[in-house]
Every structure is written in C-alpha cells, then in structure tokens.
C-alpha cells in the first residue's frame, strides 16, 4: 500500500514494508496519546477499560447464576465469553468512522488509510488480549478461576477470534467510510450479534437443529475452542468448524482490503 498504483517508479517492497512499520508505529503512539492522554493512568486504560467491562459482566452473571443452566464455573465462562465480545466489538467500533478525524494526517504521503485501521486494530487487539490475560491471572490468584487446561488451544481459539475481528474491523471501517448509514446500522447489528456470538452459551446446549446454524458465525468457533482450551474436554463438549471459521474470516478480510483500497483512491485529505 505504500506506493500508489500511478507511480510507475515503484518503491522496493522491503523499503515499503519498513516505511509502513514506521508509520504504523508513529500512528500507534499518536493514537495512545489522543485517546488516553497523559492524565491519571494514561495508556493503562487500554486494557483497564475492557477489563472493567468484563469484570462488570462477570459480577452480574455470578450474581444471577440462572443465565446459564449448567454446572460450568461461571467466572471462567464470563471471562472467556465477554473477552471475545470485547475483542470483535471494539475492533469494529474503533474502525468505524476512523478516517474522518484523521484526514489531516493523509497529507503525509506515507500515511495510508490502511495504516490508520491497522494501528487502531493493533491497539484494540493488544488491549483485549492483555485484559484477558490479566483477568485470568488475577482470578486464579484469588481462587475464583481454575488454571487453564490447555493453553495452546486457548491461544488457538483467541487467534481465530483475532483474525475474525481484524477482518470485521477493516470491513466495518471501509463500509462506514463509504456511507454514514453503515455506521448507524452497525450499532444495532452488533447488539444483536452479542447474544448469538457464543459468549453467553455453548453450542452443545442448543437444540441439535440450531447447532450448525450457530457455527455459521466465525466467532462462535473461536469462543468454543477458547473454552475447550480453558475448561478441558472433560468439562465442556465444544463444537467448532475451524477451517470454515478461518476461510470465511480470510474471505471477509479480502473483500475488506479491496474496499479499503477503493476508499484510498476516493478519500481526500482535508
């Protein structure tokens, strides 16, 4: 994305990559400053904010144990479930309308709109991941959560969620750049997605005819694998379609990148 298609004097790929890394690094630092500033705990908000969300939901679910009619330990269930919601929802929300407030930065030739999206995605992914890790460690320390059964599977499930969330973020970002309507529609859609995203249920609890339908949502496979990793196969019977989840996320990513590229030719610096 570094050299424009109109420049037939192309920059070598390795140099383009170096420039892009530099630009994304600079955008990351700037993003942290504009969002969190230098006041009180500053950039710690990056993961404290998602942590507070997850903590609140965990407390609520623990108080109303009835929400899930199962014998699964509720704290682990809430932490794994809500962290995954925080991940895909924050990625999409932060990419929505991300270009407009950053138009003045596009005056600098090397800043592309893809870089703006990537820097925001990296921040959200970093924040959500740190929040998940810290919550698990803290709850383990105070005895509210058992240690994970299989960290490898948890990492795998989280990676699937990260892939899907990045694709969703780029897609929503490019779409909202194109029309304001998309931004208005995205909020109700994300609301409806939350209860069916796999955060509040296990696929196994669904009636059998609904189970394959649930797995059409790529994030459901990610959460299932994450939970299988956390609880172990003895406690949960997870259902996932990893190949489908990964290929559908990659397909979404491909479409989103094409849309970003198209938007880059249309967006004018302020």
């Amino acid at each position: 994305m570094d050299s424009l298609p109109m420049n037939h004097h192309a920059t070598p790929l390795a140099r383009s990559f170096k420039i892009q890394m530099r630009v994304i690094g600079a955008l990351l630092m700037r993003e942290v400053l504009t969002r969190y500033g230098r006041h009180n705990i500053g950039f710690l908000w990056l993961f404290v904010e998602p942590m507070l969300f997850t903590l609140g939901v965990t407390a609520l679910w623990s108080a109303l144990k009835s929400v899930h009619g199962s014998s699964l330990p509720i704290v682990g269930f809430a932490v794994t479930g809500y962290s995954s919601v925080v991940l895909w929802r924050n990625c999409a929300n932060r990419c929505a309308l991300a270009i407009q407030p950053n138009l003045s930065l596009l005056y600098h030739r090397n800043v592309k709109i893809l870089d703006i999206f990537v820097s925001r995605l990296l921040l959200e992914i970093g924040g959500a991941t740190l929040s998940l890790i810290i919550l698990i460690i803290v709850f383990m320390a105070v005895g509210l959560m058992a240690p994970p059964a299989d960290i490898g599977k948890m990492v795998g499930g989280w990676m699937v969620l990260v892939l899907f969330s990045s694709a969703l973020g780029l897609f929503v970002g490019a779409l909202t750049e194109r029309s304001d309507l998309a931004e208005r529609l995205w909020h109700p859609i994300s609301y409806f997605l939350f209860p069916i995203s796999g955060a509040v249920y296990m696929v196994d609890w669904l009636p059998q005819n609904l189970q394959p339908l649930a797995l059409y949502l790529p994030m459901v496979s990610g959460v299932e694998l994450l939970r299988e990793g956390y609880y172990g196969p003895a406690l949960v019977h997870a259902h996932y379609e990893l190949i489908y989840a990964i290929t559908s996320s990659l397909a979404l990513m491909f479409v989103a990148l094409l849309m970003v590229r198209q938007a880059a030719g249309r967006v004018q610096p302020e």
Binding site: L4, P5, M6, N7, H8, H9, I19, R22, V23, G25, A26, M29, R30, L33, T34, N102, S104, L105, L106, Y107, H108, R109, N110, V111, G265, Q268, P269, E270
Partner: protein
Amino acid sequence: MIELQGVSKSYPTRHGTVHVLEGIDLCVTKGERVGILGRNGAGKSTLIRLISGAEPPTSGHIIRDMSVSWPLAFGGAFQSSLTGLDNYRFICRIYGADYRDKLDFLYEFTELDRYLKEPIKTYSSGMRARLAFAISMVIEFDCFLIDEVVAVGDSRFHEKCLHELFENRADRALIIVSHDQGYIRSYCDRASVLSDGKLTCFGNVADAYEHYQNVY
C-alpha cells in the same frame, strides 16, 4: 527530480465530474525554485497535493526521485488536539527523522516557547505556519512544497525562512504556489501559470507574470 507527465485530476460532484487539472506536464530538478501562479480556485492546492503524493492523480504519471515535503499550508498535516511538540514528534517518526537532537532548532525557529506544549487548535495560522516550516526543516527534504504559507507571519519570520531556505539549503528545490506574484518574483527562478486546468510554463518569472496578467 520531480516529473509530472500528462497528469489529470477530476472529482465526482453532484453536478457531474469536474476536471480540475488536465494534462499537466512539469519537471523540477534539484535546486530549482519554481513558482506556480493561479487565481483562487484554479487548482493550485490540488496540484500541490498531487505533487506531494497526498492524493493520486486520476490519470498520468508522477515521478519523484527526491524526497518531497508535504504541502506546507495554513491547515492540514497536523492533529489539532495534540500539542505542537507531539505533532513534531509524530511527523518526525513518520519520516524517520530523529526528533531529539533538533529540539533546540525547533524552539529557536518557531519562537513558540511554552505554546509548543499547548494543543495546535489554540494556535493562530501564523503560529501553525511557523511550526510547519520548522518541522519540514528538521526533516530536511530535497524539495519543499509551499502553499501560500510564506504570505503569513511577520517580517522576522520571513527573514528566518529566507535564511534557512536560501542560504542553509540553497541546493534544495522549491515549489511555491500563490496568487500573489510578488512572492513568486522574490523567491523563484521561473514560474508557470495555472488557468482552466492547464499549466503553461515559462523560462522566467517576468514572462509568466505577463501571461498571468493577460489570462486573468
């Protein structure tokens, strides 16, 4: 060298496509100082954005064999909620320049002192111009693109700019767009006139000025 070959730019509007620039050819080599004269709305700022690479042309080619600054203009290029210093660091990072050893220069050139720690949105346009100029000097481009900014600021700022650009950086190229021929005359070796989306090049400023008087 910067070379524009048959560059055109059009924008879709509600009243159909507007062709702002059509078939522009321009070549600027190292050390050259080129002025571009044109009235308000002639497409000067669009042309300078294309040269800088901030926007792609609709058709044609732009070759940049030297490092080119962003358009040094009244607005744009800064994040207005960040302080002058934060913007300075951000822009240095983007262009891979070290911001630490040039801090003294920044303070000295801009004379903004404590304002450098205030958000850009509190700056006047003269203060922004001083900051933009100083940052571009720190990054040391081969070619500076100047969009009317020399017109703002007091005579002291002018003197400093002249000193930095023409004495300390006499080997750099300069492209100035303006509707004021006075500036073009005092800063440029040659000039071109932009009218009706076409660019007419002249070997010296006097000829360009005469043509400018005739078209407008």
